[in-house]
Amino acid sequence: MSNVRERNESAWLLPPDGKRVNHQLRQDMRRFEDNDEVDLLVVGCGAGGSTMLQRLARAGWKVLALDAGPFWDPDTDWVSDEAGSHHLYWTEPRVISGSDPVPLGSNNSGRGVGGSMVHYAGYTPRFHPSDFRTRTTDGVGADWPIDYSDVQPYYEAIEEELPVAGEKWPWGDPHSYPYRPHPVSGNGDIFLRGAERLGLVAKVGPVAIVNGRFGNRAHCIYRGFCLQGCKVNAKASPLITHIPDALAHGAEVRSNCMVTRIEVDERTGRATGVHYVHEGVSRFQRANVVVVAGYSIETPRLLLNSADARFPEGLCNDFDQVGRYLMVQGAPQTAGRFDEEVRMYKAPPPEVSTEAFYETDPTKPYKRGFSIQTVSPLPITWAEHVTAQGYWGADLRAYMSDYVHWSCLGALCEFLPQPDNRVTLADEKDRHGLPVAHFSYSQCDNDGALMRAAQEVMEDILRAAGADEVITIDRFAHLVGGARMAVDEQHGVVDSNCRTFAVPNLYITDGSVLPTQGSANPALTIMAVAARAADRLVAASRRGKEQP
């Protein structure tokens, strides 16, 4: 692997003076006209979109990204406060349904440059090799059209760019991380103590939080507000890991631009650009290649809202695949009570994890598995745990006053992809007059069995560590799927290179292309798959298949 600075200089382009934004770099940013035909236009500056933008800018393409939200300044826009961080989430109207409706917004939907990685915890585990062929090996889920070995070099590259800190990782494809593990706090100590007493292997990491110094990014200060946007620039998000380098190589990032429709030329069948709204004005940006990276709800919604005469059921939706196989992970959280003071709000919530239950265990009645990680809810989120037990009034206040004594673990259960878990368009319209997304979700039996099994293990760990009471809240985390990668257009929306089957110069490079999810947090895989797609696109253009 080449020196990371030679591949991606983002961390060195951030200011060294304690400020978190290089304002000069943004001020000097290249600016295209709507009428310029850019080589490549990205919709959405999250994990997948920003990686794509940076890679193609490096390759010398004229690239532009539109993002519906703001171009954040961590110094002025982000706060060390739960309720004050509401603006980090996508809170435009959406409708949810199904037997297990999944709340959106704060838990899984980002906004602005950096996307959901602005408010993700910071866990960046790899998928296991088995995740790419669960249909063949486990008889459930789906096989990817690519293999772990196709993504592996991109995992290594992105782990260096974020960079990731953690112990040598024994699960999946064993590997090590570029940075040493962080010291652990009370919550991590409890997990390690309980695991040790059970003879269970748990490891510190993997987190995309600087341990030491990386370029001009500062060391983590362990303030615990990772989910509220890292004001320190210690936790990785594309805002600081890929966007600065993209700008330095001539990319434009145009914020507060809501893309409303992808335009496809009926005669050529090629995308010609996108319609978007900026400050109330409808505009059209021309592009030679369009990349959609709006994540699992907004990407399908944009495709469906781009229906035209050729694609009456929605762009790329000839085979009714758009919006389907959307997945969340079952994410029960179990907390335990100790007479000692844990004060789990001190230190990043992501600290320690185990993937010992990740793979199918033939002795169990369910397929696939779950991972367990520390989570450290702050007061408002902790109140959800307490009210979920039915407490209110005096009982609620009494439980809440006990906060410093509680330790909390979270599981990620691999829910299976199902065709009816999907995004469609609702009758309701947003402020732009566009139909909003309707997201229906129902668990299958395997999903429910994993939730119960994960809860049992978390209870065992906490009790082994000495907890005298344990409480659990059932919840969900992460989104992937909705425009999945497949071998052909009857089973998915994009091919193994993230190119849509239906429109030759339209790509999707976000979490929606993932056919399965494992029980890993998806950010690293989304970036790695996007980085691979970028490489393939550049290679194809060199062969003359896609002109920049």
Binding site: E92, P93, P101
Partner: protein, 224 residues
């Protein structure tokens, strides 16, 4: 900046409650001079005057106030100085349409769901006790609230009861537990930028943190 001290003053939890006095002398606002300006602005705004009611009608405000006092065990009589203006904070969110970014397909939007559920609480109160919800005794209000909670996934006046319950508790807790007064009674140190923490670990405290005076006083044992 010097902020009001606790004791009989703002921020003091009421005496004699299970949640009061566990962190003697701890006041998170004492640390506010160590916070960054953006955070300080956001948090101190909550300690200042509450925003005026804009969304709720006076009738709705009356029901919402009684409901939230019940949900959060706040009592105007016993803790006038420490009462968090939860209803004003909820009202502000609804007026600004600051939702959580989703609604159930069988529920109206959050603002309308609040209006309807408050009206039904009042209707239930009149039917069962012959007076408005706000005029009911605390015990009567408690039993009406309990009956909504106990319905679980059944409907209550055409609304899914557990979704109404989730709406009420979500908004009420988000408001209350965003307030420094609430942080004081749970020993939470609040904002921590740019200072961060140096003493993470079991039973380790920062110099400004206060140890729980009643570590064995957990809810489970209290019940036993």
């Amino acid at each position: 900046m010097r902020l009001p001290r606790r004791g009989a003053e703002p921020g003091a939890p009421p005496a004699g409650q299970p949640w009061s006095g566990r962190f003697p002398g701890f006041d998170v606002l004492d640390q506010s001079s160590h916070w960054d300006p953006a955070t300080t602005g956001v948090v101190l705004a909550r300690v200042g005057m509450a925003p005026d009611i804009r969304f709720f009608t006076p009738d709705e405000e009356a029901v919402a106030t009684a409901l939230c006092d019940q949900l959060l065990a706040q009592d105007d009589a016993t803790e006038p100085q420490a009462r968090v203006a939860v209803v004003n904070m909820i009202d502000a969110r609804l007026a600004e349409r600051q939702t959580d970014g989703w609604r159930y397909d069988d529920m109206p939007d959050d603002g309308q769901a609040w209006r309807e559920s408050l009206a039904w609480l009042d209707a239930d109160a009149n039917e069962q006790f012959g007076c408005d919800f706000a005029a009911c005794s605390r015990a009567q209000q408690g039993s009406l609230i309990h009956s909504v909670q106990n319905r679980g996934s059944d409907t209550w006046h055409g609304l899914c009861a557990e979704r109404v319950w989730s709406l009420w508790t979500r908004y009420a807790c988000t408001a209350f537990y965003s307030h420094p007064f609430a942080w004081n009674e749970m020993g939470f140190s609040g904002p921590a930028y740019p200072r961060g923490y140096k003493n993470a670990g079991i039973d380790r405290l920062e110099p400004f943190e206060v140890r729980d005076a009643r570590p064995g006083d957990d809810p489970l044992r209290r019940r036993a």
